[in-house]
Each structure stands twice: as C-alpha cells, then as structure tokens.
C-alpha cells in the first residue's frame, strides 16, 4: 500500500502544491483506519478519488456515499483549491465601457459545491452554517485593503454569479438522498473547465441543528496522459516548449504547402 502511495505522491507532488506527501499518506492511513475501525457516527467515501482530465474530458461526476449511526441529516461541501481572485467592474467613461473599479479577494475556493438532505436553514442554525461555511452565502470572502462593506457585497455577488455561470458554483442546494434511514448518497458534478488541484470533500452529520460529526476526504483533480505531459513540460521547460511549438508549426506549414508543387 505504501509503495503505491509513494508513487502516487510523486505524481501528485508535481501537480499539486496544497498537500504534502506526508499529509497525503497520513490522510490515507486515517481513511483506511476510519473505514475499518469501530462503528463511527458517520462514514463516507467517494466512488472515485481522482478525476483524470484527459483529451476527451467533458466533465465528470463523482458519487459520495456513506452511512450514519442513527437518525439525522447530512450536509456535504466540496471546495476546490483556494486562490486569490480579482473582480473588476466596468463603468461608462466618455461613452466607452472601462474597467474602473477592482476588488481583490484572498483565498477564495475556485470550486464550490454544497448538498444537504433538507434545506440548510431547516437543519442547522445560521451560526453553525457560517462556521462550517455551509452555503454560498457563508463563504466569508474578505476584500483586501479598505473597501466599504456595501461595495464589497456587490463584488461578492458578481463573483458568485460569474462562478455559477461557469458551473463552478452551484445555482441551488444539491440533494443528499437517503436510502432508508442510515445510508445516503449524493452526486457531485464537475464541468469540463474544473480547476486542477486537491479538493476537500467535507461530510457533516447534523442533529438538533448542530454538527455532531464530520469527515474530510481529499479528491484530486489532475491532468493525465499526453495532456498532462504537455502541461507539465510547458511549465518546467517553457523556453524549450516554446521552441518546439514554433518548430512544429513551421514543419506543419511546410508540409501543408507541399501539395502545391504538383498542382
């Protein structure tokens, strides 16, 4: 198991910077242990821990399934790698639309998904929802620098709308379905433009409007195959990559002109 995980680490290490090998191995051990050890209040797993972006990639869906030890509700949050984002707003200057204002938000999830077995406001109190960042309105985006709150709110709204349009943020709350009283499942959809990196899938067991148990599972989105090699090469050897791109284009252009000889 560890030889395999080392190999996987080496691959992941190139592609992700959010998670160190040590952490990954610890987490793998923890998951393994958590899955087999004594009865937990909540156990959950994904049908797939790696989303491989290949040439034909048009998006993917991953099923999260699990069980709880008694009655209760389940909420699921998936967060893509955090990044800084600049949101700009255009306004009309001398008849032309110009980017005139910008607000920078630090550490914003590049992907966000939330699902629950019932509407969030019915199962958790607002303060709990805010603490666990349940729901798009609880992302707690903080602008950098001095920005008046009303202005920051407008930019947050615009950011969320843009992400929803790109299908990277949900338009509505996803559904966690129960099969009987204990078993649950939900489907997480990833569009073709899904950002790469390490995702965190958080599952919460909710009783009496409070989170009483939780589990976090990593999910890796990475490019594999020729595409990953091209991407990796372009990042590691940019000058050589550029030169090869130019030469390839030149050769292709030369080949393309050949049939004219006979014409």
């Amino acid at each position: 198991m560890f030889a395999g995980s080392d190999q996987m680490c080496a691959r992941l290490g190139r592609l992700t910077d959010r998670i160190s090998c040590r952490h990954f191995r610890l987490m793998a051990v923890f998951l393994f242990w958590a899955g087999t050890a004594r009865a937990e209040a909540l156990v959950a797993d994904l049908t797939n821990h790696l989303i491989a972006i290949t040439t034909g990639f048009t998006g993917a869906s991953v099923v999260l399934f699990g069980a709880i030890d008694g009655p209760g509700d389940v909420a699921v949050v998936v967060r893509g790698p955090d990044r800084d984002v600049t949101v700009r707003r255009k306004s009309r200057v001398a008849g032309i639309w110009v980017n005139s204002e910008e607000v920078i938000f630090g550490n914003v999830p590049s992907f966000y998904f939330v699902a629950a077995s019932r509407p969030l406001e019915e199962i958790v109190s607002p303060s709990i929802a805010a603490f666990y960042r349940l729901g798009v309105s609880n992302l707690d985006m903080k602008p950098e620098g001095m920005v008046p709150p009303y202005l920051a709110d407008e930019f947050v709204t615009a950011f969320v709308r843009t992400q929803q349009h790109a299908r990277l943020f949900p338009n509505s709350l996803g559904k966690v379905n129960f099969i009987g009283e204990r078993l649950f499942r939900t489907t997480i959809e990833f569009p073709s433009n899904v950002p790469t990196g390490t995702y965190l899938v958080q599952v919460f067991l909710v009783r009496d409007r409070d989170v009483i148990s939780g589990q976090t599972t990593p999910l890796v989105v990475s490019k594999v195959g020729i595409d990953a090699d091209v991407f990796g090469f372009a990042g590691r050897q940019p000058a050589l990559y550029g030169a090869i791109a130019v030469l390839t284009a030149m050769v292709a252009g030369w080949l393309a002109s050949l049939p004219f000889r006979s014409a």
């Binding site: 700009r88 008849g95 090869i244 284009a249 252009g253």
Partner: protein
C-alpha cells in the same frame, strides 16, 4: 467531437476549431494577412481564455505564414530583402510592445487598449483603402485611361540610407521599412497578432510596393514576428497551447490553399476593396462592443497558483 486543450484547460469541439482555422486560413491565402485579428476574438468567443487565445494564435500564425510564404515564393512574389529590413524594425518594436503589454495587464486595462487600438487602426485603414479602391474602380471604367507611374514618390522615400529593392522595383530610404516594421512590431506585441493587416496597406500605400509582391513579403516577416511572440508568451506567461495551434493549423492550411488560388484570380483593386470591407466590419463590431452596455459589467481574474 470534443477535444481537451491542455493549456487552455477547456474542452471544445474539434470541428469548430477546424472550421475556424479554415476560415482564417482562407483569408491568409487571399490577402496575405495572418488573420490573427479575427482568430483571437473568435477563440475568446468559444471559451478559450484571452491570454491563451492571443498566444496560441501567434503559434498558429507561424505555421500558416510558412505555408503561405512558400506558395508565394514559388510564384516569385517575395521580396526577401524588404522582408528582412521590415523584420529588423519589427523585432525591436515588439520588445517595446511586450513591455507596454505587461504594464497595461497589471493595470487591468489591456482588453480596453486592445479594443481601442483595433477600432482606431482598423477604422482608419479600412476607410482609406475603401476610398482608394473605389477610386481605382472608377478610373478603370473611364475611357482612355493613362497608365499610371509605377508608384508615387513622396518626401519619406527620400530620407537617407537609400537602398534598391529590386524585386519591389523600389529605390527608397531603408529608414522607411525599418520604421514601419518597428511600429507594426509594437502593435503586434500589444494586440497579439502578426500585424499583416497594418503591414499590407502600409506596404502598398506608404512604401509603394507592387500589390502582387505584398502578401508574400508581409507573410515572410509575420513568420518571425509570430515566432518571437510565441517564444515570449511561452516563456513569460505559459499561455501557448500547442495542441490548439496545431488543430487550427490543420484547418488553416486547407483554407489557405483554397484562398491563395482564389486570390490569384482576383485583380489587385478588387482584393483591396474586399479587404477594406472586412477590416471595416471588424472595426464596427469592436466599436459597438466598446460602447454598448456589457451583458455583465463585472469580470474576474484568478491569480496564478
């Protein structure tokens, strides 16, 4: 059939890309312009990030121009000496252009600058070419028309460092093509294009080169300017998608073959009228986009992780 583009990080229909490359290749073949001014906005339109669209179309231009030059060269329609002189100015200009590009990108005003440059450049050139080609058409229909001089000399042609460009039948100052190359180089880097649509009219009207020599010579210098832009973008921004460029090329070479045969059958003034119309149409579209209320006044940019 969808294909995943490794650098652009999006999936697009491969046939849409082929058709796009084909249409632009056709224009390359007919007019000798690289078509970058069309391919970049079209790529953005189908969902490729603007930075990747700019860099990858430069990569595509390298291939398209090579095949174009070879075709024109076999017909003897390339003035190599003129091409190299233009290129010397072009490389120097692109260094300044890249510096301006970086500055504007940091200020968040690069898209606006690009659009404004396009509107002003394309609008002016399109209008001038339109007027000229319509006049030429009228002159043809007048009986007893006198044969014009090979080209008109103006004060610029008399600047120092005069040299003979045999293929173009010109004896003019070298400073003129060097200066033209420099200005086009600056715009090439900022607009992410080969600059053919500025170069072609300038070669005809400013330098006074014969129309038949212009496309091949213009393409010759575009090869190197586009290669330079590709290398710079790959190195500094890592936005060159070679897969995207290659698919566009496949479509492009087919289009260019058809285009260059089509172009050979047209008269010079007809060619110019068509190009003028095309240039004006793009300018009008861009001007409309700048002044019309945007569908969403907000835009987001992720920092590189």
């Amino acid at each position: 059939m969808d294909i995943y583009l490794p650098i652009a990080e999006v999936s697009v229909d491969v046939f849409v890309l082929l058709a796009l490359g084909g249409a632009v290749g056709f224009l390359t073949g007919v007019f000798g312009v690289g078509g970058g001014f069309l391919i970049t906005p079209l790529l953005i339109f189908i969902g490729v990030p603007p930075t990747v669209a700019v860099a990858s179309s430069a990569n595509q231009l390298v291939g398209a121009s090579v095949s174009g030059v070879l075709v024109h060269w076999r017909r003897g329609n390339v003035d190599f000496k003129m091409g190299y002189v233009l290129l010397a100015g072009g490389l120097a200009g692109s260094v300044l252009g890249v510096w301006i590009f970086t500055l504007l990108k940091r200020l968040g005003q690069i898209e606006l600058t690009i659009s404004l440059c396009y509107v002003v450049l394309l609008g002016t050139l399109g209008a001038l070419m339109m007027v000229e080609s319509i006049r030429a058409q009228l002159r043809l229909h007048r009986p007893g028309v006198r044969r014009r001089k090979l080209h008109q000399h103006n004060w610029m042609h008399g600047l120092p460092l005069k040299a003979r460009f045999r293929r173009s039948k010109l004896y003019i100052s070298t400073l003129l093509p060097i200066g033209l190359g420099f200005v086009v180089g600056v715009f090439s880097a900022i607009l992410g294009i080969g600059g053919g649509f500025i170069m072609v009219p300038a070669m005809i009207y400013m330098l006074g080169m014969p129309t038949s020599i212009v496309p091949g010579t213009s393409l010759l210098q575009i090869i190197f300017v586009a290669a330079n832009v590709t290398l710079l973008q790959a190195y500094t921004n890592r936005t060159v998608d070679a897969v995207l460029a290659l698919v566009l090329l496949v479509g492009g070479v087919i289009g260019a073959r058809i285009g260059s045969r089509f172009g050979a059958r047209l008269r010079g003034d007809q060619l110019r009228l068509l190009l003028a119309l095309l240039v004006l149409a793009v300018a009008a579209k861009l001007a409309f986009d700048l002044t019309a209320r945007p569908s969403d006044p907000y835009s987001i940019v992720w920092e590189k992780s």
